[in-house]
Amino acid sequence: MSFERSATQRLFYREAIARALREKMAADPSVFVMGQDVGAFGGAYLEFDGLFAAFGPARVRDTPVAEAAMIGIALGAGAAGLRPVVSITYMDFIMLGLDPLVNYGAKLRYKTAGRLTAPLLLKTTAGAKGQGVAHSQCIEAWLMGVPGLKLVAPATPDDAYGLMIAALEEPGPVVFIDHKKLFPGAGEVAVAPHRTPLGKARIIRPGTDVTITTHSYMTRVALDAAALLQIQGLSCEVIDLRTLLPLDLDLIAASVARTGALVTLEEGQLTCGVGAEVAAQVQRVLGPLKVHRIGALAAPVSSNPVLERACIPDAARVAAEVEFATRRSGR
């Protein structure tokens, strides 16, 4: 039995998403997928591969390019009793559907006094990978100030599976953010059905000198930077936030209380960013604190490889900034 409990399978990130959807669609006839090229094509990153063959065109619906209507229709179907998964190919395009998401979905339970809720899972892909100024953005921080939404950004195949399962059990709308550079990656995923609870961060590298909070693809950059800094004698504790709304403030604050320093890392913008919110919330608990935030340059993300690299944090830049920040804070 103990062998079965520990049994894992090696899955690509995209396969973990497809597995979670396959299991949920098999168990619950109200779950269905709609989006551009999600059918026989299997999704831009094959993250819906096999679903069309297994469940057919009624439950794996290709849509026209009409993000506003797609999100509104999915919310209406959810409010009327189904459990829709709507795929917005790139996160940049959620802007086209923010009206139904923010003005309808996020407020539905409140405004109806609980008569209706919209259990929508909006899956979208963020991140820079050579596709230019309108196909590269990480705008998750925009959504963190919307009461009624939940926001997850898994970094590993196991969390992609587990958070997808858990998100499909939520009563209201959840935005599920993956990342272009995570799709080619593989990792161990438990064979037995399981879930990663929303609202729980995870320490992915223990350390003693500084806490680095990050999420999604930037977890890998943070781990690489932490390895570089270990050589210089600086011990970094790296936290994968996993859920951005609600934040796991307990875990983050406990870590910062131990290490005494906080560095936040994100691929998006610093101004009003994820790190700004993490820092503010941690300081509300722990009081004044040395904080350093790392993110993209305040510029669009070009498809030009030189300019894209210049814009987005990499391990060398993160290591240098963490080293500078901790030295400044007196270590």
Binding site: S30, F32, A58, R59, R61, T63, P64, A66, A68, A69, I71, G72, I73, A74, L75, G76, A77, G78, A79, A80, G81, L82, P84, D99, P100, N103, Y104, K107, R109, Y110, K111, T112, A113, G114, R115, L116, P147, G148, K150, G172
Partner: protein, 308 residues
């Protein structure tokens, strides 16, 4: 619905809105005075399994759908006896158990949501259709055009109802829409469409019943355009931009007066019966107002209720 029942329901809407607007604390309301025939005519074509979604000009439709006037008044005045505990108001009033899936005050914002409600019926085989009401002001918005396309493509059980009152706040329909006929917007997608006199409740009821029946039979979406007139300014806080002469002309086409005249002319109803009807309606509105006034405002702690 009988012609007498239609008349009575229209009178209820008129008297209800007048009583609401007369209060100093009525808040910010979008009245449907003048447009009662669209609301009552449409709702005459809907059954208990159907769901109605509207824009922010929702009061007439909510009452036409049969929602309890006392509960609706409580909602509009922010009282906890409202179906949404006074949180939603006119802009977001909903009572899905009563077939009123709800208002949504973003212009055009409920159109795609209604298509989702229709999709849920299509996918589960649940009975009933979805109907969505929007104004001419929503017809330039992308949400209508995107949803018309998908509804036609997926043959959704959805009845589109444009309440074309011919003016969007201050902008005349002709200054906002290039299409010569709003109904043509639907026809471009292969959706059957009809334009009716929105000041004639029976004409609206006939067109809505015909269209709803086709939708019920699985023929996909249908579209009706009801050409109406709004008697009051856009909102209780908005300036009137039309001239006194224009308003006099518009108000001479009152749908309530027209139906009452027809009923008198055909001797279906007498003068004294009409007066009794007015008294009954006034009494119903008084009771609704009393019910709403007796209900408390929510506790301030409810600001955090039902958020996630």
């Amino acid at each position: 619905m009988t012609r007498i029942a239609i008349l009575r329901r229209m009178k209820l809407i008129r008297a209800f809105e007048a009583a609401l607007a007369a209060r100093r604390d009525h808040g910010f309301q979008l009245l449907s005075t003048g447009e009662e025939a669209v609301a009552v005519g449409l709702c005459a074509a809907l059954g208990t399994d159907d769901q109605l979604l509207t824009g922010g000009r929702s009061i007439g439709f909510a009452l036409a759908r049969g929602l309890d006037p006392g509960c609706v008044m409580a909602e509009l005045l922010g009282k906890v006896a409202g179906p949404n505990r006074g949180r939603a108001g006119r802009g977001h009033l909903s009572w899905p158990e009563a077939g009123f899936f709800g208002a949504h005050a973003v212009v055009g914002g409920n159109i795609s949501v209604a298509a989702g409600v229709a999709l849920a019926r299509l996918m589960t085989g649940a009975p009933g259709i979805a109907a969505v009401v929007f104004g001419d002001g929503a017809c330039g918005a992308g949400s209508l055009h995107e949803t018309l396309n998908i509804a036609a493509l997926w043959r959704l059980p959805l009845l589109f109802v444009c309440n074309n009152n011919q003016i969007s706040v201050s902008t005349p329909r002709g200054a906002a829409l290039a299409a010569a006929s709003i109904a043509d917007l639907a026809r471009a997608h292969g959706i059957p469409a009809q334009t009716v006199d929105g000041m004639d409740a029976e004409a609206v009821a006939a067109a809505a019943s015909h269209a709803a029946e086709a939708v019920r039979q699985g023929e996909g979406p249908a579209f009706i355009e009801c050409v109406s007139h709004r008697f009051a300014p856009h909102s209780t806080a908005a300036r009137e931009t039309r001239t006194a002469a224009q308003l006099q002309d518009i108000r001479s086409r009152c749908p309530i007066d027209a139906l009452a005249r027809a009923l008198l002319a055909s001797a279906e109803v007498g003068k004294s019966a009409l007066e009794r009807m007015d008294d009954d309606v006034a009494d119903q509105v008084r009771r609704a107002m009393g019910f709403a006034e007796a209900s408390p405002y929510p506790d301030a702690a409810e600001a955090l209720a039902d958020v996630v």
